[in-house]
């Protein structure tokens, strides 16, 4: 929350949509907490707010909107068991073994669902680049 306020003036709609931007800040905060001191290595290239200020062009904004729309559609098209696993890997920070235990499925199944989901996302997303 606080980081979002602090960085609000850097928000660049030509780099990321608002929710993606909030997500990357929240993630970087979590990394900083984990590493106790502030480590710019984590922040540096990942943080879309770190670049010198240049007004985004209409084209940039359109690309971002297109990317997020593509991602939304790609996620929707994943079978539910695959999207569940992507969600858990993203937000629960759980290793595969733990996800397997929680869902009561073998570790191999978790791994293959992650692989299937990523392959499918790659096919869907690479085609709109």
């Amino acid at each position: 929350m606080i980081a979002v306020w602090r960085k609000a003036s850097y928000f660049d709609p030509g780099k990321a949509g608002a929710s993606t931007w909030v997500f990357t800040i929240a993630r970087n905060q979590r990394i900083d907490r984990l590493r106790r001191t502030r480590s710019r290595t984590a922040d540096h290239l990942l943080d879309p707010t770190d670049e010198p200020d240049m007004p985004p062009s209409g084209e940039d904004i359109a690309i971002v909107a297109q990317r997020e729309e593509g991602v939304r559609k790609a996620l929707e098209s994943l079978p539910i068991d695959q999207s569940t696993i992507v969600r858990l890997s993203f937000f629960a920070e759980k290793p595969h073994a733990e996800i397997a235990r929680e869902l009561g499925i073998p570790l191999g199944t978790v791994k293959s669902r992650v692989r299937l989901a990523l392959n499918r996302l790659r096919t869907l997303l690479d085609s709109d680049i």
Binding site: T24, I31, V86, F90, E93
Partner: protein, 216 residues
């Protein structure tokens, strides 16, 4: 420069989710610095995080959140004016990537004939297994395997193993299924940034050589 070897999708997803350790994340950051293809993939994974965040049910906020936020903002601004880093890089004879600018990098140390290493410390993550390696032209590295993931980004020169040839900008991700015997290209010395994930250890001769000297 054409880049032929990239981090896996799973690695980029973990990086985007903030779930990759500081060492591997540093190596991937160096790769992203030079690879537009992966920066684009990374943007997609971050957008996936944003979309999923959007779909989460909103959490209620505390009534005094606004006031507390403003208070902390002031403190942070005061702290930030003090922060400044100094040069922590000895004469290594190479230009370090931007992503490494806050790391503490040790001097080259002898590891074997024609083979040197330098310890890389990431601020806040002292236990990460990260180092620079330098091999002279034509050097044959001892065969080795890994118990987990090894990430290696080529900074200069080239390296080849049974699976392919790696040039500056390439990132090689080798898992426990890979046993390899890298050879430095004949054209020049090779410098690369390497990280082992978590409790990954090297086995084979290279592991026995590194462990007493490097400590992992």
């Amino acid at each position: 420069m054409t880049i032929n070897h990239h981090p896996s999708d799973e690695t980029l997803m973990r990086m985007a989710a903030g779930a990759l350790g500081a060492g591997p994340a540093l190596v991937v950051s160096v790769h992203l610095e030079g690879c537009a293809v992966c920066r684009n993939r990374m943007a997609h994974f971050e957008a996936i995080g944003g979309v999923m965040l959007d779909e989460m049910p909103p959490a209620p906020l505390a009534a005094d959140l606004f006031g507390r936020t403003m208070e902390r903002l002031e403190v942070i601004q005061q702290l930030q004016t003090k922060e400044r880093s100094m040069n922590k890089h000895p004469e290594l004879g190479i230009e370090l990537p931007r992503a490494m600018q806050d790391c503490e990098v040790g001097p080259w140390k002898w590891l074997g004939p024609g083979f040197k290493w330098s310890k890389v410390k990431i601020p806040g993550s002292p236990d990460e297994k990260v180092m620079l390696l330098k091999g002279r032209a034509g050097l044959h590295l001892p065969a080795h395997g890994h118990t987990g993931l090894e990430f290696m980004q080529i900074l200069s020169g080239s390296l080849a193993d049974e699976r392919g040839r790696y040039f500056p900008g390439d990132l090689d991700e080798a898992g426990d299924d890979v046993d390899h015997r890298p050879v430095v290209g004949q054209e020049s010395d090779c410098v690369c940034l390497a990280a082992l994930e978590g409790d990954t250890r090297l086995h084979g001769l290279l592991g026995r050589l590194l462990r007493p000297i490097v400590g992992f």
